[in-house]
Symmetry: C2
Amino acid sequence: MNETEDEDRADAWFHALADRTRRDILRRVLAGEHSVSTLAQSYDMSFAAVQKHVAVLERAGLLTKRRQGREALASGDVAAVRSVGAMLTDLEALWRGRISRMDELFAEEATATHTDNQKD
Amino acid sequence: MNETEDEDRADAWFHALADRTRRDILRRVLAGEHSVSTLAQSYDMSFAAVQKHVAVLERAGLLTKRRQGREALASGDVAAVRSVGAMLTDLEALWRGRISRMDELFAEEATATHTDNQKD
DNA sequence: ACAACGTACAACCACATGGTTGTACGTTAG
DNA sequence: CTAACGTACAACCATGTGGTTGTACGTTGT
């Protein structure tokens, strides 16, 4: 569990998701298994381009491929999607930490105001 | 609510998050307000580079800046982070749809098997 | 007043990215 | 057997990205 490896995975996740074609491919393969050529027919670009998008999603671990004859069937990995979501939840937690630190600050100030009278 | 605008926003979100320096900046400004130069001191790169990263996060709506004298104070926008999370939850929903469709398929097959005896 | 600070932005560079076409190879259908 | 299909990958190209340095300008402290 290297620190840098986590960041590498996050880089791959978000980079893979930062393209609308790839997000659309991911939606389709999460909803059901599709061959690469079937996917390619849905987009106004070459088969090779779509194949590269699928490869990016695969390298990021967001989808897996299995061979069936001459076809490569792609399937979305919902666990990976959840991992990305978890990372965002962690970010939210930092924000909540800020809020509670503000509460502490208010509490301290209130205490200080009270004790100020006894100071000096 | 243009269809393409949503995709544009998503592109900006995920692209902004696809860089580890920007994710680290976002963590810091979610945890509390920081000036750009304060942030810049944390990284082994020029001020201008960090400033550009902050600009990317700002354009994506993940942080906001306010001016105080000569400083620009950056603060993370947790609502935007939640929006990104919501988008992933929508992806999960597609996956759950696949599962329930599989359930339907099983149900149909079971029914078909029963009715098979009456066919012919 | 003026030097130092914090910010913004333009110009530039090396490299990554998203697209193309072409080639090769195993698999399926006729 | 042979032709068509589905896939994989290399080579190439235009554009985008992440970094740099330099310049300009308002703000702050002495």
